[in-house]
């Protein structure tokens, strides 16, 4: 695709008019005849056992149709994944309803009634008693010698080492992973003694542990060694649309109207949670009001209306309230890290010894803790590194991946240390990041596999991003005025770098060119605001030469023949699905050429496809796509989808089979080579102004420069870069959880307590740019961008604050005016650094 007609161009996405007129239907906007309403009874205790439950008074309320309790749920079942591995059921994993709640707010039961007020009134009539069990909401409190455990069995997951993975993301059939189990672990008294000074104690034998290089030599050769503790906040995803669901059963099929990030893949989630064959699951999710990782395949809570609907024999709408969303809506694990970092006098990191403790919540182990190590190793390329970590179970709401999971925390742990080192060494902040930046096929993470080889990326253009950013931001000019006082105001500038995974491989593309000359694209991608639901398919349209006006995208309903599609999480989609779209486009192009050669003579290679035609290269005989589509139907076989490639997923196969015979089918699996792991990078630049009398600060300006390969849709990329930057900035300026430790209950459970940034907290000026260098390992050159802006946004602001005020102001994020004020007053950081959720 030498010159692009669609790729790289702005356009109006096919969902926008419906959105702007209010016709777009999100889960709560659907109505079904006879629909009844569900409300939840949540646990008021952080850990308890239900000892008495009397539903009689609630069932006697006129209008109450059914009550669903934990006893009605199917048992956790084993599953087989895409690679054919048997995944044993986690018997201590998350369940939608329970009689032994492990966090305040966990649903105990649900009441369905003719209307919401009846359901709510009925809940108030339920007699329920709990036996309180030991609980803990602070991971360090649980790791303290003699500290309480969040789960009866212990406080962390022991997950035996997985079988060696093949290089290059191919996956491959490994042995079946063992069942994870909960165990208990505490610091020794000697280890924990350090906590007194607000330093994170280090656990010598942590469950997650790896290293490479000669750490001791790295520290010995260092010109500067810093040993810092930093703490990142726990934050709710707080999608504006809560995880409301409407569901009903019909002819043994279940119809689930929900918000999800990944339409096609949610079928498997529903199937597993409800215990029903995937063929009997229909997911309808045309519009999703935000996900940020919290709705990757819908949410486990969807089983509640699904099973209630079965029990009550009526469609059930479960509107989830904002407070309920705080509890069941997922959050980012906060990480406290201890980083001992050695720097050469040029600023190169010679050694990094990192220990991370993350707050895992009560259920399945989150990858954030481990990612702090892996991402740090990629972003700063330490010459030698040791990582140790533990993800501690607590009685707080379940965590889930949130935009740049673990990567955002990695940046927040490391960036303040690097900024401090640059100040101590007298090195420019941009320069120190440049010298440590990954270049080309940079290695990262632990040595793995029988040959102990480290993984590497497909490409990295961080230095280019830093250079472009410094120029656009007028870094040197701004740096010169940083620290200058104007009345009670002082300015500071900050730069930060950040990275994350940016794409997977191996999925399918599917479309049909019909005899009306139009291109009908089937999209299994979720529509949660990233625009990838249509952006990816622009690649197919461009390859077969169809103008966008003649493309119709079908999405958001798994009954409508969608292809097997990646999870829209971890910035996979634009990479994975442009590859799949490319494969399908190439398949159609090949078929078009073959049809032309058949009808018009010559070899297929003599033909090219463009401008709605297939024609002899250099002009000459050809036919319209409309005509070719009709010919494809006439020819049958592979041309119209009656014969399908062997390697496509069975999900795609079923959809393609249903569409066969309607026109020329483009269908294909992404089998393109892919040497390395795709990662995107962002360099963020911020200037802040702080009032030292109130501690209040404003962000004057923010710039993010992204290394994302080829840009498919500039406005969407810009929105992702700045939107995710703001999400990160929220972590720097105020968003957090607050828990009362005595009772283990949430105090901040609404927007005005959790404080997601408002439009007036955003920088007065925001800009974005990309380095515009395609990734060499993917046909369109595009990588994902949803994740890395988060850490860059957060840390550019953190670094700008410390640039203005000095190093000893904060040791945790978010940085709020109280921290600034008391630190300036006392001349040292004063806010309790290690206490969780304050």
């Amino acid at each position: 695709m030498a010159e692009h007609k669609l790729v790289g161009q702005n356009y109006t996405t096919p969902d926008l008019v419906a959105k702007v007129t209010g016709k777009a239907k999100y889960a709560e906007d659907f109505r079904a005849e006879g629909m009844i309403f569900a409300k939840l009874l949540l646990s008021p205790l952080p850990h308890a056992r239900v000892t008495r439950l009397d539903l009689s008074a609630a069932l006697a309320v006129p209008g109450v149709k059914a009550i669903l309790t934990a006893d009605d749920l199917p048992a956790a079942a084993d599953a087989v994944n895409d690679n054919g591995q048997l995944i044993l059921a986690n018997l201590d994993g998350e369940v939608a309803l329970t009689n032994e709640p492990v966090y305040q707010g966990q649903p105990i039961l649900a009441v369905a009634a003719v209307d919401e007020v009846t359901a709510a009134d009925a809940i108030e009539k339920i007699q329920i008693e709990f036996q309180p069990l030991p609980f803990v909401v602070d991971p360090l409190e649980s790791l303290r010698p003699g500290g309480p455990n969040a789960r009866t069995k212990g406080n962390y997951w022991n997950i035996p080492a997985p079988a060696p993975a093949a290089q290059g993301g191919g996956g491959g059939r490994g042995q079946n992973p063992p069942r994870p189990e909960i165990r208990g672990l505490k610091f020794t008294d000697a280890e924990f003694a350090e906590a007194k000074d607000g330093r994170l104690p280090v656990m010598r034998e942590a469950p997650e542990k790896w290293s490479y290089g000669d750490l001791d030599a790295g520290f010995k050769n260092a010109a500067l060694v810093l040993d810092e503790t930093f703490v990142t906040p726990d934050t709710s995803h707080q999608t504006l649309e809560t995880r409301t669901v409407m569901a009903y059963w019909q002819n043994s099929k279940v119809y689930v109207y929900t918000g999800t990030q990944s339409t096609a893949q949610t079928v498997l989630g529903v199937s597993r949670w409800v215990g029903v064959d995937p063929a009997n699951v229909v997911v309808i999710s045309e519009y999703t009001g935000g996900g940020f990782g919290s709705k990757i395949t819908g949410a486990i809570s969807l089983v509640i209306p699904v099973l209630l609907s079965k029990k009550a024999n009526a469609p059930v709408m479960m509107r989830v309230s904002r407070e309920e969303e705080h509890y069941i809506g997922r959050g980012r694990p906060g990480v406290r890290g201890r980083m001992k970092v050695g720097f050469s006098k040029e600023g190169r990191i010679t050694a990094l010894d990192m220990f991370s403790v993350s707050d895992n919540g009560p259920f399945e182990r989150q990858g954030d803790c481990g990612n702090t190590g892996v991402i740090s190793s990629l972003m700063y390329q330490p010459l030698a590194m040791r990582f140790r970590g533990i993800s501690v179970l607590t009685n707080t709401p379940p965590r889930g991946p949130q935009s740049q999971p673990g990567g955002m925390q990695a940046a927040a742990l490391m960036e303040p240390v690097i900024a401090k080192a640059a100040r101590k060494l007298g090195i420019d902040q941009v320069a120190i990041r440049r010298i440590n930046a990954p270049v080309g096929k940079a290695s990262f993470g632990p040595p793995a596999g029988p040959k102990a080889v480290r993984q590497y990326v497909t490409s990295a253009f961080v230095q280019e991003a830093l250079e472009k950013g410094a120029a656009l931001f007028k870094w040197d000019e701004r740096k010169a005025r940083s620290g200058k006082r104007n009345g009670s105001k002082v300015r500071g500038v900050g730069v930060a770098v950040s990275t994350y995974s940016a794409g997977s491989v191996g999925y399918d593309g599917l479309f049909v060119i019909k005899p009306d000359g139009r291109l009908y694209v089937q999209s299994g991608i979720g529509n949660h605001g990233t625009a990838s639901v249509s952006d990816c398919h622009r690649v197919s349209a461009e390859l077969v030469g169809v103008p966008w006006e003649k493309c119709e995208v079908t999405w958001g309903n798994t009954a409508k023949n969608l292809p097997w599609t990646c999870n829209s999480g971890g910035s996979q989609t634009i990479h994975a699905m442009t590859r799949a779209a490319h494969a399908a486009g190439m398949d159609a192009t090949k078929k078009l050429r073959e049809i032309a050669a058949k009808d018009l003579g010559g070899r297929p290679e003599d033909y090219e496809v463009a401008n709605e035609r297939v024609f002899r290269k250099g002009g000459g005989a050809g036919m319209s796509l409309a005509k070719a589509a009709q010919r494809a139907i006439d020819l049958g076989g592979a041309y119209d989808g009656h014969e399908l490639p062997k390697d496509i997923n069975k999900f795609t196969r079923a959809s393609a089979t249903a569409l066969a015979g309607q026109g020329l089918m483009g269908v294909g699996k992404d089998n393109y080579p892919h040497d390395g792991q795709s990662r995107s990078f962002v360099a963020g630049f911020a200037e802040v102004e702080i009032d030292v009398e109130t501690g209040k600060f404003h962000i004057l300006d923010y710039l993010a420069v992204a290394d994302v390969g080829t840009v498919i849709h500039p406005r969407a990329v810009g929105g992702q870069i700045l939107g995710r930057s703001m999400l990160g900035i929220g972590h720097a300026i105020g968003q957090k959880w607050v828990y009362d430790q005595h009772y283990g209950v949430a105090l901040a459970k609404r927007f005005h307590h959790n404080r997601p940034p408002t439009i007036l907290d955003a920088p007065a000026r925001m800009q974005w740019a990309t380095v515009d260098l395609p990734d060499p390992e993917t046909p369109v050159g595009a990588r994902g961008i949803g994740e890395p802006p988060v850490g860059a946004g957060c840390c550019a602001v953190l670094n700008a604050i410390s640039d203005a005020l000095g190093d000893d102001v904060f040791r945790r994020a978010p940085v709020t005016l109280d921290m600034i004020l008391t630190a300036l007053e006392a001349g040292r950081p004063t806010t309790e650094p290690l206490t969780a959720h304050i």
Binding site: P44, L45, F130, P132, D740, H742, Y743, V745
Partner: protein, 279 residues
């Protein structure tokens, strides 16, 4: 009518919070009703009065008795009045806001509570080592006295026991106020860990929610009980036939005649060298 008030703790558990203020009104009402009933009875019914000739005889028989007999030492009187003042401050600061007179009352209340506590501690020590400790208590031995007292009150002329130093009514009252007062004081001392004072570091989590509930209700029950008891006490203090006792609490002594008239010299020996003799 609910006698206690319930609330919810952060775990949604029902916890006791306070005694219901309706009990205050009940106690106030009961105190006043007792006053009216007793006053009416005293007005309307006949009472036995010891014939003065009998007292004359006794006085003649005991010429060596001093004219004034000390009934309450200075220390005992000081204690009583300090305690009374503290009690009034406590009751008014506790219950004026309940009846609608709003003012900052907590500091006055706990300071008065400390004064009361101090005076009670003093009183216990003083009574144990310097006074006839057992003279104030009631026990099974008092049943004949009680019987006689009741019959006398009903107008019958009953021979038999007269009171020792403290008439039975006094002693019963002391018992009641001791129970109520010590309950209020003991719970009040713990409750001070829930308010800001210079004496304790605040720790509202000293007890479990349930224990605190019982503590507050006990304090409340004792408090409203004291309302009735104090009303009764004040009433008797100003009744004409008890005025001689009230005066003794002010001046410390009673006359020989009063002594002989109201007390059983055998049970309150003012002349022996054995002041701690038991009744």
């Amino acid at each position: 009518m609910d006698f206690v008030r319930w609330g919810q703790n952060p775990w949604g558990q029902n916890i006791l919070t306070h005694v219901s203020w309706t009990l205050f009104w009940a106690s106030l009402f009961a105190g006043l009703m007792f006053l009216v009933a007793h006053g009416s009875y005293m007005l309307l019914s006949a009472h036995r009065k010891r014939p003065s000739a009998e007292t004359d005889r006794m006085e003649a028989a005991q010429p060596n008795l001093p004219k004034r007999i000390e009934r309450h030492s200075l220390m005992a009187r000081a204690f009583h009045w300090v305690m009374a003042a503290a009690m009034f401050v406590l009751l008014f600061t506790a219950f004026l806001p309940v009846v609608g007179v709003k003012f900052p009352w907590v500091t006055w209340h706990w300071i008065a509570g400390l004064v009361l506590t101090g005076s009670i501690v003093f009183h216990i020590v003083h009574a144990s080592f310097w006074l006839d400790f057992w003279s104030i208590w009631v026990g099974p031995k008092d049943i004949p006295e009680l019987k006689a007292e009741v019959l006398r009150e009903m107008g019958q002329d009953v021979p038999g026991l007269k009171s020792g130093k403290y008439p039975l009514g006094n002693r019963l009252y002391h018992l009641a106020i001791m129970v109520a007062g010590l309950s209020a004081v003991a719970t009040g001392m713990f409750m001070m860990t829930r308010v800001r004072t210079p004496l304790f570091t605040r720790n509202p989590y000293l007890f479990s929610d349930r224990t605190w509930g019982v503590t507050y209700v006990t304090h409340g029950v004792a408090g409203v009980g004291l309302v009735g008891l104090v009303i009764a006490h004040v009433y008797f203090a100003i009744r004409p036939e008890k005025w001689w006792i009230t005066k003794s609490m002010i001046f410390g002594w009673i006359t020989r005649r009063q002594y002989l008239e109201h007390h059983e010299p055998e049970r309150w020996r003012v002349m022996t060298d054995r002041p701690t003799g038991r009744i």
